[in-house]
Symmetry: C2
Subunit: 420 residues, 2 copies
């Protein structure tokens, strides 16, 4: 087979300019999250195929890169389908591996456990601009904390990080699965139609309240039910505090603490926040994953149509592995989107030290070469970035190239020190 110079379809080589920004963003993220007491952990990129195919991953489960069994386990003659050929797959997110990790190591881990993960995930999506089949995810999760301290800490940590990266005027949109359901119940929808109702509700930002109403009626729901539902959204719109309005209106349809806790999250974050952003209650926020059980939230960036990250509470996922539920809540930053936004805005990594190119005449050898290397070594100890290169015939062109790499100072070394 011929060698291929290109990366595999849909994945990309990362060039030096982008890497510099990625490294910087990673270091800001790690430093900020650490100050909030999050602990970095890592899981293998490969997971057992069973763990990736248990329906928690929704649509992502159709996009798995599957790994062939090896050695005696692979029996091509008797294989009837993919399942006989495959025993592992590349992870499509960091949540499934985290829950497996926690289930495996709960006895060794503190409670609550605050995990920070930065790692690649893989999805065989149709390749398109700015979306790749391998991409970095960056998640923080708190396991074992049932109260809204978890949500408050997750949102503060994430927004502080975004602020330190220079983002402002964004929103954290927040909702509660229990409020979503209570609103539907109050209006008179049957529980089995909630998913369908929420798919329509999710289109609110595109088709507006009237559009949602029309689509629901078109789907065959009773006009009275739809009107009552729409009325709730109008009520929220006309109230000072949508959450408290719902608490009063929904009455026994809503768990006693759901609205109060949500309100407390919004108010605590608003009063403590470091970054410039706004907390917004968004009763139309749905989020796709079926594993969410409570709060759900998303980052909305003005520079970017769509979400730049999100998360929520998933109190029942650990139970799938261990039989015993553990309260859990997580927030995932859209790392690749943030990098894209920074690249497009011409972002420069701050304070990346002095860079000097040592240009060494061809033919310098022996002691003279050691002298040059020693001088480079001394400058490096002072924190300078020193590039030792052979001098080209066309020095002017070479200097232009070096300037493009960020070297604005040069020092030339010749065989005889006199020329220097």
């Amino acid at each position: 087979m011929a060698l291929s110079k290109k990366p595999v379809t849909g994945m990309k080589d990362i060039m030096p300019e982008e890497m510099e920004i990625r490294d910087y963003v990673q270091s800001v993220i790690k430093q900020t999250y650490r100050s909030f007491g999050f602990t970095p952990i890592e899981t293998p990129c490969v997971e057992n195929i069973a763990n990736l195919s248990n329906k928690q991953g929704g649509e992502n489960e159709k996009l798995i890169f599957k790994i062939l069994k090896r050695g005696e386990k692979l029996n091509l003659e008797t294989a009837k389908g993919e399942a006989d050929l495959v025993d592992g797959g590349l992870r499509y997110d960091l949540t499934v591996p985290l829950v497996r990790y926690y289930s495996n190591h709960a006895n060794e881990l503190p409670s609550p456990f605050k995990a920070l993960q930065m790692g690649n995930v893989w999805r065989a999506d149709r390749p398109q601009r700015g979306r790749y089949r391998q991409f970095m995810q960056c998640d923080i999760d708190i396991l074992g904390e049932p109260t809204n301290i978890a949500e408050i800490e997750l949102i503060l940590a994430t927004t502080t990080t975004l602020g330190r990266l220079g983002f402002k005027n964004f929103q954290i949109r927040i909702n509660e699965r229990r409020i979503l359901k209570a609103m539907a119940a109050y209006a008179g929808f049957q529980e089995e139609s909630y998913d369908s109702v929420f798919i329509t509700l999710d289109k609110m930002d595109k088709i507006g309240l009237e559009g949602v109403s029309a689509e629901l009626i078109n789907d065959g729901f009773e006009k009275a039910v739809v009107d009552k539902y729409v009325g709730l959204f109008e009520g929220i719109e006309n109230s000072d505090n949508g959450v408290l309005f719902l608490k009063d209106t929904l009455g026994e349809f809503l768990d006693n603490d759901a609205a109060e806790s949500l309100n407390e999250i919004i108010e605590s974050v608003e009063s403590v926040k470091e970054a410039e952003f706004e907390m917004v209650f968004d009763p139309t926020l749905v989020r796709g994953m079926s594993y969410y059980t409570g709060t759900i939230f998303e980052i909305a960036m003005p520079e970017f149509g769509g979400s730049c990250g999100g998360g929520g509470r998933y109190d029942k996922m650990v139970g799938n592995f261990t039989g015993q539920n553990v309260p859990a809540c997580g927030f995932s930053i859209g790392f690749e989107r943030i990098i894209l936004l920074l690249m497009e805005s011409g972002f420069k990594v701050p304070g990346s030290g002095e860079r000097i190119a040592f240009m060494v005449e061809k033919g310098i050898t022996g002691e003279r070469l050691a002298q040059v290397m020693k001088e480079a070594s001394d400058a490096r100890k002072e924190g300078k970035q020193i590039l030792v290169v052979r001098m080209n015939k066309n020095k002017k062109f070479q200097k232009e190239q070096l300037e493009a790499q960020g070297y604005s100072e040069y020092k030339e070394f010749y065989k005889e020190e006199l020329k220097h």
Copy 2:
């Protein structure tokens, strides 16, 4: 299929204590290599299967995790063998992807190009203590530099990094493929038997010179040839400078510049080095990979039987992709072994800031909670690591747990400030 709490066979979950050390080592490596002008890059973890199966990878090619074709490309009924089912694989090293990357982007990259890669690689080795099927590699490579500036810079950068991580009294053992070959030619071995001779030579540290001699004769080589070969090693042993001894002795069997250049590398590094280590010419150093064309080197650590990293010059590998050779030289640090050594020595990451646990009475909500969060936020701004946790009934036990996580200071918050 049942969910599995364990990681896949042979791969491991990384626990918080190890991650802290890994993160620290990575940051020292990146910072030091950057000061030498190396530029971080990244390639996808998945490579085209053709690139992984072109014989450059030696034994590693038998250990590839292969990835199933997807969608229409996968046709199970007509598949006759693995090759029909697979189009990608997980990379087994970082050198093949680097060479592909360079071939693909040479026009956009400076010359010489100094690359730094830190990334996971996968090999389906038999699992054993301390060796895993997913592990981190950390490589620096210089492409486009034909002179020994490349070797000197690679060895200085690597050893400076090791020194800053606290390692000393190690050796860099160095040899030259051209010297290896010239010695064999001088003794009278035929070129087609070099590989077999070198496999025996490689056992020198285990079986000694006599053992090597006996095995070569046993393999059917002429006694006169073997004696002449053995005589060279004795001559090196008895000389002040083995490299210059060989230069004189081998005469026209050896390229004119090979010995001088090697000697210059050793002397330059010795006179400039920052870390405490020794450069040692080792005429028995072979290194397995067939792609090496010139210098080869290895890190020998007294704490660790065997090599802790190595590298060499591979001037003909880019040519496999582009048809045009480019001088290239690389050095790979044995990242996982270094982590293992640091873990076993009880290494503590230096200067990992003040850690304070804020213990919050159950039932604190509303404004009082916001107050606590504000205080945490202020302390975090000062660089402290603050963990906000709910207070347990058994405070003593909770504090012991927190201490194990590195929190030696506590602050307790109660509903009423008076109690505080």
